[in-house]
Symmetry: C3
Subunit: 115 residues, 3 copies
């Protein structure tokens, strides 16, 4: 039950989102027990995002939410490196204009009932 | 202070959102102390959502956030059943392509001050 | 690492978002250790938002997420007052149609690694 929810200020193409999704799918395996088979990736693009008072340079806000009570810090570190690299490569968003917020929570619904 | 924040990959009509909002309004009463009178329902539609590597089949990501320190698990279970049923009925999104993430947190603002 | 993520039902202009961003930038200094230099402000507008069963009157849902383990309640209170005032002034959204959800969490990525 991992979700990687991407908000970016730039426009994206289907090919770029496909490449990001593939990169996320590989990266999520850094988190114990998670794989692309359970990964959801919503994308929101072309939205105004200010960072440090500036709304001109491309920026990204990514929320990574997983099912569970905790995740080793090293796993989040690996994800941060992979997500920043993918957003820079695909969308030319500089890593210092990206925030990624991580949460692990225990109440998730899927397929009509809860995990 | 419950919020049911719906993200779906398909387009929605005003009538469909109205029907979903009504279904959510009934369902939220499963959570002790909550009612439609305090329920907020933001809708985001027609957005790319990948699940299990696939971006073709309809999918939904729903965040249910309430004011409070905890909620009985049985209440979340009832909500999951009702939300999945409503999304399937109104938008033909299969329950196994829906994630619902639940949180209860204690800091909320409304009407100029905090609860 | 504060993020003020604004969702509003009304359309916004670049000038209105600029004014909101400025107001948020001033307001965030109420939170110990935070400043506009680290503030990210994603904006989503013109989206359907129901509140108390009504989808006609303007409404807003704001998520304020910061890095850290806790924040003094008084700081959140000041933010609520400032955010409600700014949304009313710029977008004519009444304070009693605004929810603001606050979280402080400890896992954040930026610039390729985690704080």
């Amino acid at each position: 039950m991992p979700v990687i929810h991407t908000h970016v200020s730039v426009k994206t193409t289907a090919a770029q989102r496909e490449a990001l999704k593939k990169a996320y799918g590989k990266a999520i395996s850094a988190v114990p027990g998670k794989s692309e088979g359970w990964l959801m990736c919503p994308f929101e693009d072309n939205m105004p995002i200010y960072f440090a008072g500036d709304g001109e340079e491309p920026a990204a806000y990514v929320e990574v939410n997983v099912f569970g009570s905790s995740v080793p810090r090293a796993a989040w570190e690996q994800l941060t490196a992979a997500i920043c690299e993918a957003l820079d490569k695909q969308l030319a968003i500089r890593a210092d204009r990206i925030y990624i917020r991580y949460t692990a929570t225990t109440d998730w619904g899927w397929n009509g009932s809860n995990f």
